[in-house]
Subunit: 280 residues, 2 copies
Amino acid sequence: MSLETVSTNKSFGGRQGVYKHASTATGTDMTFSVYVPPHEDGAKLPLLWYLSGLTCTHANVTEKGEFRQACAEHGVIFVAPDTSPRGDDVPDEDAYDFGKGAGFYVDATEEPWRANYRMRSYIEDELPALIAAELPMADMGRQAITGHSMGGHGALTIALRNAGRFRSVSAFAPIAAPLQCPWGEKALTGYLGADRKEWRQYDACALIDDGATVPEILVDQGLADNFLTEQLKPELLEQACERAQIDLTLRRQPGYDHSYYFISTFLGEHIAWHAERLKG
Amino acid sequence: MSLETVSTNKSFGGRQGVYKHASTATGTDMTFSVYVPPHEDGAKLPLLWYLSGLTCTHANVTEKGEFRQACAEHGVIFVAPDTSPRGDDVPDEDAYDFGKGAGFYVDATEEPWRANYRMRSYIEDELPALIAAELPMADMGRQAITGHSMGGHGALTIALRNAGRFRSVSAFAPIAAPLQCPWGEKALTGYLGADRKEWRQYDACALIDDGATVPEILVDQGLADNFLTEQLKPELLEQACERAQIDLTLRRQPGYDHSYYFISTFLGEHIAWHAERLKG
């Protein structure tokens, strides 16, 4: 595997990089960003994955997330992948919530999506292997994961399906139950077909009900979020965690919306929370 | 004067707003952003102006500046204006360093620029009056000013020309001496004509040599900044301040470039520095 450097900029004493590579999972070029905090030569650093929401690339959180100060303070690498395959040859739909920018972190099984829309394999397998090979300071034994909206769904489902891989998982305004909201129904029908049993591996609540578990979850949810009641439904995650006795901290934040003005307010606290669990 | 609210978002406990108004100074609509930190009812808060660089609008620093956490902590209002008049009827040039996005904080005297390119009057007179009228919590007796690149030039020259108005002034990678660099020569020739005596009111070093003064100046300058030697020339400001015995703190920052990855790293420290001087 080879990695092309798109850009690097010094920031908060560390280095914000953007990289491109030919992905075997998606059959396309893929771009992602990595922030490496200041560190001693030879040090091994824990790593936090951040999965982005609908319409986003790596760039949104990289520019607007305000995570570098906390990552520098706590010595945490921050990795932000794209949300779908990209390129003129990649099938798309004229919609913000399906196709490019809306990969939903699934491996599609339906035509014409199945060839390229393999974001589950990309995020779970290919990109971690690439990071491990290319970033010698990354301690792949100490990983955590978070994400926003569709990316919060991604973070929760990936952590639940890969027990033991992540020391901690959190989310911002996640799509808590794709089986029970319009965004999820559309995406999962399109990528996976009509058999709802196939969808359950991509629904945090269904995974929990089917026995998947993590020790604890931190979620921040703005109460002025336009998508709260129709799409996000944190109460369903709350109920699933209660049934499974998973320690969920769901912080309902008055006045906050779905934007990066919300995420950036609390991302530093999430990084500190993950860093505590990534120690040693 | 009336103000149209473009957007407001809760962030770090306060409110990030974007507003539009019909400007008499520029004869166009103008957009700017204001962050008001969390505060008690009836409190009066100091205010920091941030002037942006070439090609920017209010949006660059608003999205990428990472200033809200420090403004919330220190109780400082943050105002970010645009860098030029805007609109289809406004004369422009096909250049990133002249015309729209490149107002250089001057009142143009040359045709066809003089009707709209009146950013000095807009920033010095019209917008402060509007802020004072529309933001009841703004304490206009406690103002500070900063800016980046062209906006660092703006901050320095506006503070120097308006002795006593600002408690403190700082800059990021300012164009320290427009009379002595290609950006400045092009802009001042275009907006003001060939008489270089007219330019001196828009050059921090010339203003200082002509007797204008401020108690102290804080400047951060990245040493990996591509524009350092040809355009920015902080050594000329250093020499002018030494001649005039102005207390300049010029921090040369190894490895940092001209981008918001640099600005965001140090903007919190500038806000703390200004807040100290804005107390009481």
